[in-house]
């Protein structure tokens, strides 16, 4: 049921209970008043009538007794026989009343005279003494039945019952209507307030004056792990377990200490029922009222875990970004020099006799230069550069290959749990393999005595707000878990720092590089560890939401007569000369230009002379002059069939990672070796153009065939299962 509807129903049910209670009370009150009215009217009538009758009889008896006193005084001996006079007195009437009776009694109680027969009972009797010279000689008795009074009282009782019914209805209906209106208004207000509490994003708990739970909204339920029904009546400390943010000690009474310390706003740790810990901002407000001035408290708390982690992530990213910028700049310049060194060594080896002693020295220098180049490459990877060259890939084989390669020769074995149908991702397969390899190597090093690295792969969909540092969407999650020594908490915060390592032979760049790889792919890397229990590293890579690419199988053999004409543009003379030398060694006819403008001019001149260049290799960055990006755009504007390769030490530049979008047919990252240059040149020259057809380059004659790196892809139909199409092939390293 919808929580709001449920809650509304509960409020209405509560109000109905109150309504019934109040209805019963009002009903009782109305009934009592109605009974009083119903009985009061005849009772009052009877009382008034009785008193009136008694007064009248008393007055009549008094008046008659005076007359009788006179008669007795006038005839003391014979007054009892003055029947006519006595009857005259008795028949005097102050008012006409049927059923009246008057009697004169002698001193012995004998009846001397009477008006009529005794009145029907019940009767009211009033008597007065008859005195002669002050001595009582008899009595006069006046009696009157009050049957008529009873009858009239009965009629008034009927009227009273009608009045009582009317009073009951009025007192019941009118107050109930007003009460229902008031209760309805109260219920609506209460429901609105409670729905408001429920709808806000913060957790809200209300307690009574003793700190017992009264209400908690849905967010509070989620964060504490307690349902409303389970928490009802418990003390808040049971449900709201909070550790002090500074000391880590559990607060014995969160409400009291919050109110006493006024530390609202501090980030403490909320321990949920299942042990989950969350960083929270909480505040407590007392509810005034009650006998002691405190009717309870409202506790409002917000889960700040995501926010705090995001902040940590942002700081970490900023720090690494700064370091990356520095490292990238150094690596770029370093690469330029290495390019010249390596190129010249390569050339020198080609020139020298293979049996020359100098060749061995050159090869040693070449290996040293290559190691230096690898180091520069690592620096570039975690630096701002290292932009991945993406293609649609399946992670399963990459993960397995990289992991198995990393544990080879160690006492550690791999255990895979890759879910079937793992989604494809748009990623740089080499970088992803490197990241996996780094993680597995760390796991191996964490288990020096051997063990098992468990690698899990699964498809996950991250919801909005579910993870702080991962955007919502579909992901492929790779977990690498070891059972090693774990990472102490103090080190856990620094594991992504460059060159931070606790191992003697560690470089301190493994996790840093992996982290940057994942960030550059729009994913993330998390490491959870508990000392003594092992470590789990989790990779999140965005799953591809587009159709799988179909890789062009550029297996077309092209034939060409004569040399390929290549134009090399680089501002560094050493590099430019080295590249020219390499191309000439490959059998090409190479010319050099210092910047983009010069290159365009030479290209135009050659084209006008009928000897156009078949290929242009352009340095991306030329300080103060036209660089490769602009020159390529202009060149293609004039000669759409021109083949251009971009060459740069800034592998992070977007042009390098997405060179096809800028019109380049190939990319070379500095430094490069002869083989790499040959491969890229062959690939680009193999790209079919009308003008180029019919020419057969030297490299092609050698039978080298390769894919077009970053070539113009053609898509497969949507619905192709990820990882099963031709595009899932790995790009050669």
């Amino acid at each position: 049921m919808n929580p709001t509807a449920w809650f509304g129903m509960k409020v209405r049910r509560s109000m109905k209970t109150q309504d019934r209670d109040l209805s019963r009370i009002i009903g009782w009150l109305a009934g009592i008043v109605a009974v009083v009215a119903a009985l009061g009217l005849p009772a009052v009538y009877f009382a008034i009538g009785y008193n009136s009758m008694a007064s009248a009889l008393r007055i009549e008896a008094e008046a008659c007794s005076r007359e009788m006193n006179r008669i007795a005084s006038e005839n003391p001996d014979m007054w009892e026989f003055e029947t006519v006079r006595i009857m005259g007195v008795l028949e005097q009437r102050f008012e006409e009343h049927a059923g009246d009776s008057r009697r004169v009694l002698g001193s012995g109680g004998n009846v001397i005279a009477a008006t009529v027969e005794p009145v029907p009972r019940p009767a009211l009797v009033r008597s007065r003494l008859i005195r002669e010279s002050g001595r009582p000689v008899g009595a006069i008795e006046v009696s009157r039945t009050f049957r008529p009074l009873i009858l009239h009282t009965g009629l008034f009782l009927l009227l009273g019952v009608l009045l009582g019914i009317g009073v009951y209805l009025v007192l019941w209906i009118l107050p109930m209507a007003a009460l229902r209106r008031a209760l309805g208004q109260l219920a609506r207000e209460k429901e609105r307030a409670q729905v408001t509490l429920r709808s806000i994003a913060d957790g809200v708990i209300t307690t009574d004056a003793e700190g017992n739970m009264e209400f908690m909204n849905r967010h509070a339920e989620g964060m504490t792990g307690w349902s409303r029904e389970e928490a009802a009546g418990r003390h808040v400390r049971e449900v709201f377990r909070v550790l002090d943010g500074r000391t880590g000690q559990e607060l014995s009474d969160p409400l009291a200490e919050r109110q006493a310390d006024s530390r609202a706003g501090e980030q403490n740790v909320l321990v949920a029922r299942d042990g989950t810990r969350r960083l929270i901002d909480d505040s407590v407000a007392a509810i005034p009222g009650g006998a002691a001035g405190n009717a309870g408290a409202i506790l409002v708390f917000r889960d700040e875990t995501v926010k705090v982690r995001e902040e940590e992530e942002r700081v970490k990213w900023q720090k690494l970004e700064s370091l990356g910028t520095l490292a990238g700049g150094i690596a770029h310049d370093f690469n330029n020099f290495l390019a010249a060194i390596l190129g010249n060594i390569s050339l020198a080896k080609q020139i020298l006799d293979p049996g020359s002693k100098a060749v061995a020295r050159l090869e040693a220098a070449e290996r040293a230069s290559e190691r230096a180049s690898e180091l520069a490459g690592k620096l570039l990877t975690f630096s701002k550069g290292g932009k991945p060259v993406r293609e649609r890939i399946s992670l399963e084989s990459i993960v397995q290959d990289s992991a198995l390669l990393s544990v080879r020769g160690t006492p550690v074995r791999c255990e895979f749990g890759i879910a079937e149908g793992l989604w494809a991702t748009d990623a740089d397969a080499g970088q992803i393999g490197q990241a996996i390899s780094n993680l597995v190597i760390n796991a191996v090093q964490a288990m020096p005595g051997g063990g098992t690295v468990r690698i899990r792969g699964a498809n996950v969909i991250i919801g909005q707000g579910e993870m702080a540092y991962v955007k919502p969407g579909p992901y492929v999650k790779i977990e690498v878990t070891d059972t090693g020594v774990g990472i102490p908490g103090k080190n856990l915060k620094r594991i992504f720092d460059p060159y931070f390592t606790t191992r003697e032979n560690g470089s301190g760049l493994g996790l840093t590089t992996s982290y940057h790889i994942m960030k550059n792919h729009g994913g993330n890397l998390f490491v959870e560890s508990e000392p003594g229990a092992g470590t789990t590293a989790s990779l999140y890579l965005p799953a591809s939401t587009e159709c799988m690419p179909r890789v062009a199988e550029a297996e077309e053999e092209t034939a060409r007569d004569g040399k390929w004409r290549v134009l090399v543009m680089d501002d560094e003379d050493l590099v430019r000369d080295m590249e020219i030398g390499m191309l000439e060694h490959l059998g090409c006819e190479a010319r050099g230009a210092r910047d983009g403008s010069e290159a365009i001019g030479m290209y135009k001149d050659a084209a006008m002379e009928g000897m156009p260049f078949d290929l242009v290799v352009m340095d991306l960055t030329v300080p103060g002059k036209m660089g490769g990006k602009e020159a390529c755009a202009r060149l293609l504007g004039m000669y759409p069939d021109a083949r251009v390769i971009v060459c740069s030490g800034y592998s992070s530049d977007p042009v390098m990672s997405d060179h096809a979008a800028y019109g380049f047919l190939g990319m070379l990252g500095k430094p490069f070796r002869m083989e790499e240059l040959k491969r890229v040149v062959e690939q680009v020259l193999a790209f079919p153009t009308g003008r180029a057809r019919g020419k057969i380059p030297e490299c092609r004659k050698a039978g080298i065939a390769t894919m077009v790196a970053g070539g113009r892809p053609r898509g497969l139909p949507c619905g192709q299962p990820p990882g099963t199409g031709p595009g899932s092939r790995r790009r050669p390293a």
Binding site: M78, F81, V84
Partner: protein, 277 residues
């Protein structure tokens, strides 16, 4: 010597008086007769009592004030009176209680007015109108003040017996408010005497015997007299009874015999009574 003889005679006389009183006490203590009842008979009875005292000096006759016929009967039966005077015969119940009656005279039942009323004759129809309340003023415009008698009085009973119309008119008069009600015959005569424009009832015997200053009206031209009553031209009369116990006292017996004696009848005839045989 003569003085001694006078003293001796005096002593002997005194002693003889004491001895005589001791031997013949009745001769010393006088008998008493208590007689009362209807007021109409009181006047004639007072004359008879005076004559009886002369005939029997040892009998003291006391005439308390009038207590009405019923009172007289009840008092006589109860022994409070030696002779009760009644204007009506005993009821069966009163007879059963031991009452004994002796009718001794009749007299005219009369309509009377205050002397200031300019009227001497009336009719039965006029009397009915007066009691019914249809006639409230005299011809000269002065107010007519009706003097009523209690409903149980013999005057009222006599009136009702005259005719159904009269009975109805009397019934109505009993319900009229503000009228003077005279409880006894004397009281009625008193009210007629002192009330200007009054009209009421009485008896010839009372008016004559007590010498009341009220005017008895002739009825359709017939004067209420002993003669008109005796010859029957005046139709409305009342009969007086002497009521005693079945065994009255000797003095009462003697008084009754005196009333029915020629001497007694003569006295009654002089004061408006028609003695009965």
């Amino acid at each position: 010597m003569r003085v001694r003889r006078r003293v001796g005679i005096s002593v002997a006389w005194i002693v003889s008086l004491f001895l005589g009183a001791a031997v013949f006490p009745g001769n010393v203590r006088a008998e008493t007769l208590r007689i009362t009842g209807t007021g109409g008979a009181i006047g004639g009875m007072r004359l008879l009592a005076e004559a009886f005292r002369k005939a029997e000096p040892g009998v003291e006759v006391i005439l308390p004030r009038s207590i009405g016929s019923s009172g007289g009967i009840r008092a006589a039966i109860a022994g409070k009176l030696d002779i009760g005077l009644s204007a009506r015969p005993l009821s069966a119940e009163e007879r059963a209680e031991g009452g004994r009656q002796t009718a001794y005279a009749r007299t005219a039942f009369v309509f009377a007015v205050n002397p200031d009323v300019n009227l001497s004759d009336t009719t039965l129809a006029e009397v009915i109108d007066i009691y019914a309340g249809r006639k409230t003023d005299w011809e000269d415009g002065t107010a007519l003040r009706l003097i009523l008698r209690p409903a149980a009085d013999t005057d009222t009973i006599t009136l009702r017996k005259i005719s159904p119309e009269m009975a109805h008119a009397v019934e109505r008069s009993q319900k009229r408010e503000g009228l003077i009600v005279a409880t006894t015959d004397q009281n009625s005569a008193d009210e007629i005497e002192r009330t200007s424009g009054s009209f009421g009832t009485s008896t010839l015997a009372l008016v004559v015997s007590e010498k009341r200053r009220i005017r008895m009206l002739s009825l359709s031209g017939v004067q209420p007299t002993t003669k008109s009553v005796r010859d029957g031209t005046y139709p409305y009369t009342k009969t007086f009874f002497m009521v005693t116990r079945q065994a009255p006292s000797p003095a009462a017996e003697r008084f009754i015999r005196f009333v029915r004696s020629p001497e007694g009848k003569a006295i009654l005839s002089r004061v408006g009574h028609i003695p009965l045989p």
